[in-house]
Symmetry: C2
Subunit: 193 residues, 2 copies
Amino acid sequence: MHEVLFKNIKTKVDLTEAEEQQLRNFFIPKRLRKKQYLLQDGDVCLYTAFVEKGLLRSYTIDEKGNEHIIQFALEDWWISDMFSFLTGEPSAYSIEALEDSELLLINRKAYDEMLIIVPKMERYLRILVQNSLIATQRRLSSKLSLSAEENYKNLIAACNNIIQRVPQHMIASFLGITPETLSRIRKQMATPK
Amino acid sequence: MHEVLFKNIKTKVDLTEAEEQQLRNFFIPKRLRKKQYLLQDGDVCLYTAFVEKGLLRSYTIDEKGNEHIIQFALEDWWISDMFSFLTGEPSAYSIEALEDSELLLINRKAYDEMLIIVPKMERYLRILVQNSLIATQRRLSSKLSLSAEENYKNLIAACNNIIQRVPQHMIASFLGITPETLSRIRKQMATPK
DNA sequence: CGCGGGTTTGATGATGCTCAAGCCCGGTGG
DNA sequence: CCACCGGGCTTGAGCATCATCAAACCCGCG
């Protein structure tokens, strides 16, 4: 366990042997089977999770009953509802395993302590969040300027590994289009000209 | 000068008198007149800016020639293209003053030094970026699930102060709709029923 | 007074949605 | 082993929303 996590952290900041040992204690291993939930909307998000293995998604359901996928997280990624985790407010999101998964969880108390005891983690987290922000801004401006087909092509180019592991209607939801539209796009991409 | 900045920092982390003095040296005051640019797309983003006074926007122009506004920044906010600032790659964004503005700039070298000399700033920046991420995710999922009219109403509710200082076609661009559509929405909101 | 940018208005058209039906395929129970 | 069921994907027809293009309007400014 923990190997993937520490490898990831070390790509961003240096860790001493001692620090690594200290960190280890803050995280709780957890297995989730396909279709199990890490967070149900309406509950407070008690954990931030690092995915050692598997695949999860976070999503929200709007007033019209439509699902919108906020994020996919596969191995070597983090997932949580940061807003709920930090404020203690109930979450508008749900987080669900799409495959059998192995996670490392950290709760709010451990999170705060970790930042005091290993302040380097401030830097690590800042870099992580910064990268998420850049990616989310990109996704937003793609959504504003490109057609559904262009967005789908870009997604294939960027995240083919995700597409192959996720049912098609969830890809549609991630792109903000209906399953029908995605199906038609794919059909029309298969027979160009 | 600097007062707004330090007040802002102190809402997130405590600063000693000494730290405040050290920080002061990293920032370069800069005035920008309306319509002047802090960053032109194609150039590398050399500075991250804190807005002491005034109003700026960052935007990008897509292949079809349409502007898309990424962010407005008024007093007490930060603005930059973090991706370009951090990587040194040329930026796809431009940053322009919409009013005469007073900024505090920090360049990449000073930024790195600042984080070493005053490590508390890691925490401050992490919190800032986290909040931006949460806001951007919200904006994205609004764009995915709501109609143009609903998005406009939400914007009024959340940022009336910005709307009143910005020309209407830029609001449209921020919402990802055309100026014509926004005009029609406003007309129809004025005479309900 | 006339120019010019920003906003409004109108007509038309494209993109993507809704609703409904059919299809494919894997899983389950008889 | 097969028949049936159900979920997910596809297909089709009609429709809503929003974009495009073009013209008119409004108003501040030289």
